[in-house]
Symmetry: C2
Subunit: 341 residues, 2 copies
């Protein structure tokens, strides 16, 4: 088993979130930086262009907040759910920042933060950004059915978040003292347990989250009790139940430490989202707008953030292939009173 | 302009190439490690599964050649042209290596080698692999038309290489002394110059190659004459002409140092490939099977390898969007007699 512990010394200097209507109406609605309250189009004429526009706004906001100009950013890690990751390619074009395109499905926020943190820790860059996004209407028509079709959604289905999150990172010793630190990480492996249902992403991703968490606990010597929060990206109600049940069954229970961005971003009982939110944007905006501020305020100190991705290809499903999952982990640490600067 | 010079200290420990029929019949046919001489199916029942099988074989071969077991590989960088990069996800599943999914279109080989080299140089890993692939039949039906349709191809069209390349890398000081070194790199930026023709990838990618090369020359202080070879990934005849003409026009001519994997892999006058080869597999297999051995034999010493990618989305094209390109560069150095160990 691959259990290499990756010690990191990076920090999140700023973060920004851009969301659509449904997310604005959810329980975290007041936390996000930028909203489209009208039609999720962000002034564009297609859903795909709207997704690019969200990324453009998110990175602009993160740069503004961090008081960093684009030409001071050495590296940009970005990806999204659209085929060929064009949400990122078009959305981030104007910044002219050296660009590493990622494909990690809904784990992209964590993948970008982890890769950026590794390179910053190794001295290969002095400032890096990670950006990702998803759009409900663009994702539905690419992965399932156009929304106009009005397909029936089963209880395990999740609602792709319309949103984009951007993160700006620096080496820990170059970041402002109140920045949230990235102190360790664990790279995900591709895990596939036979799930073939395009409407059950939670079940496809949970085994990958279990694999990564298990390897991280083994490598770090930590247990769930050592963390204030173990936050998965978008397992939803279904995947979260699987995660908690199987972690307990193997003797490493998550107890009450687990939460999932997909079950936090919407009112599950009232917003008709079935098993919860999903998509690259889900974990990105919840982390940027809700979790990082709590870490900065000292309400949380040690958080494991596990981005979960289902690499679901409609073509592969038609060929009878199951859905592979991947989950990348970063250990985030906020400052608490008494910490050294 | 982003001109950060990235000094690297990594080495290519082994490389392997797997190709289909047409590539086997090309001028480099005898160089590749593994072939399908019959039907490009590699024993599978779909083109997409055949692509995964090529990746599986390529990484297996590279591990064998490098005498490295999968669990000694800390990180795997992989991606391909299939939507959701499933060629990599399925093909590399069984190895269980921590996995960073990339999307860099045809620049993926260079992107993976560059990212791996940066992390190895920074001490964040001790062994890493980079794998990519493309398959003519899978790519044609996803990006243009199924081959059964028999669409007419214009002269600027390129032929997607059916092939997979895998590379194993270590820090320079841990690698065998005759390994090819990765001594520097330049991360590509997304560049888009208005090309909307899905049958002219060369023109879409050439501006990205120019951007990366120009920034690299500015950052390193080097010129074309300092290199034995400036090797682009898959610009083909069309894109290569654009690159050479525009580089000369801006006062940094490539002289006779430029070559392109896309024009080397096929007999352009006899194999009906129009402007040449393309696809992630193109640069990967030419580098693995032809260029690295020449570097190891001392026939070449300093080579710039520039992976060129067109992030071409059929959906975005239908929405009137041009094709963005990206090009990642690594400076490879072979050992020559008299070099210190």
């Amino acid at each position: 088993m691959q259990t290499k512990y990756i010690a990191l010394s990076a920090a999140l200097v700023s973060a920004a979130s851009v969301v659509g209507c449904k997310e604005s109406e959810g329980p975290l609605g007041g936390c996000f930086d930028s909203h489209d309250y009208t039609d999720d189009r962000f002034g564009q004429d297609t859903w795909e262009k709207a997704e690019s526009e969200m990324q453009r706004r998110a990175l602009s906001l993160a740069l503004d907040k961090g008081k960093v100009k684009p030409d001071a950013v050495d590296l940009l890690f970005a990806g999204d759910l659209l085929n060929q990751c064009v949400g990122s390619a078009y959305g981030l074009l104007e910044f002219g920042i050296p660009y590493f395109g990622l494909y990690g499905a809904c784990s992209t926020a964590a993948e970008g933060i982890l890769l950026a943190s590794m390179l910053l820790s190794g001295g290969q860059a002095r400032c890096a950004a990670a950006v990702t996004s998803s759009h409900y209407c663009a994702a539905e028509r690419q992965y399932r059915f156009p929304i106009e079709y009005g397909g029936q959604r089963p209880p395990t289905a999740q609602w792709t978040v319309t949103g984009s999150g951007a993160f700006l990172l620096m080496p820990a010793d170059a970041a402002p003292p109140d920045s949230v630190r990235v102190v360790a990480g664990m790279v995900g492996r591709v895990v596939e347990k036979g799930i073939c249902d395009a409407n059950n992403m939670g079940a496809a991703m949970a085994p990958a989250a279990i694999d990564t968490l298990t390897r991280y606990f083994a490598a770090s010597g930590h247990y769930a009790a050592d963390f204030d929060l173990i936050l998965t990206g978008d397992l939803g109600r279904e995947g979260s139940a699987i995660l908690c049940e199987l972690m307990a069954a193997q003797g490493t229970p998550l107890d009450d430490r687990h939460a999932d961005c997909g079950t936090m971003i919407y009112r599950l009982d009232a917003q008709d989202v079935h098993a919860g939110g999903s998509g690259c944007g889900c974990s990105a905006v919840v982390l940027a707008a809700h979790i990082l501020p709590r870490l900065q305020r000292g309400e949380l100190r040690d958080v494991l953030f596990i981005g979960t991705g289902a690499m679901m290809s409609p073509d592969a499903l038609k060929q009878g292939q199951p859905i592979p999952g991947v989950a990348h982990l970063v250990h985030l640490r906020g400052k608490t009173r008494g910490d050294e600067a």
